[in-house]
């Protein structure tokens, strides 16, 4: 790679994934800087979920390498990547439905955070931010779909990751909840790098520093909002349709 500077948080080299015949991700060279908010867009089936799953190790790559925080993590098991600072929230909500909101967030907080008191404080803090504090003792399976999405986000934040990967987090949120989401992500970026898969172009345009466009497993364009909006290939492949 030509431009790997010390403020690069994560980059990939020729990252690829084949599913029996389908090449879901093709030779992707991707780079994200510290404290950046990056949006990853592309039509359904473009390979966005597969790509970020390769980053956090949920799916094994067929080829290529992932470097995170200065280390080659290509052969790291999932738990090691996560505890090394990659947070991931699922596209399809995945929480502990039979446990309370409190317990869900408590599980996301790393051990070292310390005593019950400070954990309780941290949990209240995070839940307050996403607006679920009044539901702390509710069974998370009893929450509405939108609230479950917010809980998923709260869990991602409670992990205090260096890189937070969010897979279509605003799906199913109401407009005020989306506004709060935008505000939250912006406030996170002082401490966290965010990689955001998002279909809602309003969200992308208002919070992303930079946008990458994935199409048939390849990154076909990358740049700031203007560049992407004016890119003819992107317009043809994605924005125009």
């Amino acid at each position: 790679m030509d431009t790997i500077e010390k403020n690069t948080l994560l980059y990939t080299e020729n990252l690829s994934k084949n599913f029996q015949g389908i090449q879901a991700v093709k030779n992707v060279n991707f780079k994200i800087n510290k404290n950046e908010i990056r949006a990853l867009i592309g039509p359904n089936g473009a390979g966005k979920t597969t790509f970020v799953s390769l980053l956090c190790g949920r799916i094994k790559s067929t080829n290529g390498a992932v470097f995170f925080d200065g280390k080659d993590i290509s052969n790291f098991p999932v738990y090691k990547r996560i505890s090394g600072g990659i947070g991931y929230t699922f596209q399809i909500t995945s929480i502990f439905l039979n446990l309370t909101v409190y317990e869900n967030v408590a599980l996301a907080i790393k051990e070292e955070t310390g005593k019950t008191n400070s954990i309780d404080k941290e949990i209240s803090n995070v839940l307050d931010k996403v607006g679920l504090l009044d539901r702390v003792n509710q069974r998370s399976g009893d929450l509405s779909y939108g609230h479950q999405r917010l809980l998923e986000l709260a869990m991602g934040m409670a992990q205090r990751p260096k890189l937070l990967i969010l897979d279509e987090p605003t799906q199913g949120l109401s407009d005020p909840e989306i506004d709060n989401f935008k505000f939250l992500i912006k406030s996170l970026s002082s401490s966290t790098t965010v990689l955001l898969i998002e279909h809602n172009m309003d969200v992308v345009m208002s919070i992303a520093d930079k946008i990458s466009v994935l199409h048939f497993g390849e990154i076909i364009a990358e740049g700031d909002k203007k560049t992407i909006q004016n890119d003819p290939i992107v317009q043809k492949a994605y924005l125009g349709d």
């Binding site: 999932v78 738990y79 505890s83 699922f90 929480i95 439905l97 446990l99 317990e103 992990q159």
Partner: protein, 313 residues
Amino acid sequence: MKRDLFIHLGAIALLFLLEILGIFSDYHQGNFARILVLTVYGIGYNVLFGYTGLLSLGHALFFSAGLYAAGLSIYHLDYNVGQALILAFCFSVLVSLVIGYLALRTVGVSFMIVTLMFSQIAYLCILYFGGITRGDEGIVIQQSSRVFLSLDLSDPTIRYYSALTVFSFCLVFNLWIARSSFGRVLIAIRENSDRALMLGYNVQLYKLLAVIISGTISGIAGASYGILFGYVGASFAAVPYSIFPLLWVLLGGAGTVLGPLIGAIFMFYLIDYASDVTDAYMIIVGIALLLVTLFARRGLLGELRYRFFPWIP
């Protein structure tokens, strides 16, 4: 947070009181000594099945690992009770480590089958090495060998207190696990292991630790059973003894600390009374089990927790 401690210590105190106040008849005293040791086995099973969500069909292997380690070392090597218990403990840890390591390469139905196979292998080995184990007939541990700290463990009252002591330690240990962050991770694995992994937990390691804890408690139950009741036989390694703890746990409430005790008492007396009424007592037992699964799907205590007391650990 304190009321759960109160209830569990209260249950232990009650079991002591029943004896101290002389409420038990000889008959029930003997039954309860047996039930308490079997409950320890159920507690061990519950750690893996109820808390971690792994269904094993081969726990008789762990029970008999402790049973035979203690029994054979007393019978053949003249170990005293203390030495036999230490050996049984170490052997149980080792066996559960090895079996856990191998069986956890599989999940779901395969895990059930693999644990069943391992336990059948152990059962057949016990029969095959009949020269040492005396196979089906089993070995009887003489009263003179069943002495610990100069207490005669074959005395019914001492036996009851011994069983209650082992039970109390295991129950409190289980309660501690259930309330700890370690236990919370086990529950997370049971509820959604994908998510637990994506929160950065080494799920395989936690599962292995759960097998080791579960297998070792089961082994302690086996060793206690052999020593307190003086008999070590191959029937304890056979399939029914892998199914019993599953039934106790299901009846009492999977993933509740007191569930195995409730389940074991319920089933023991159900069989006891049913066999007074008819020779075909298993029909009555079967019907009762059916009713419980129909009307209290989560087990007796599990249902109470679900409906009224969500704080029960």
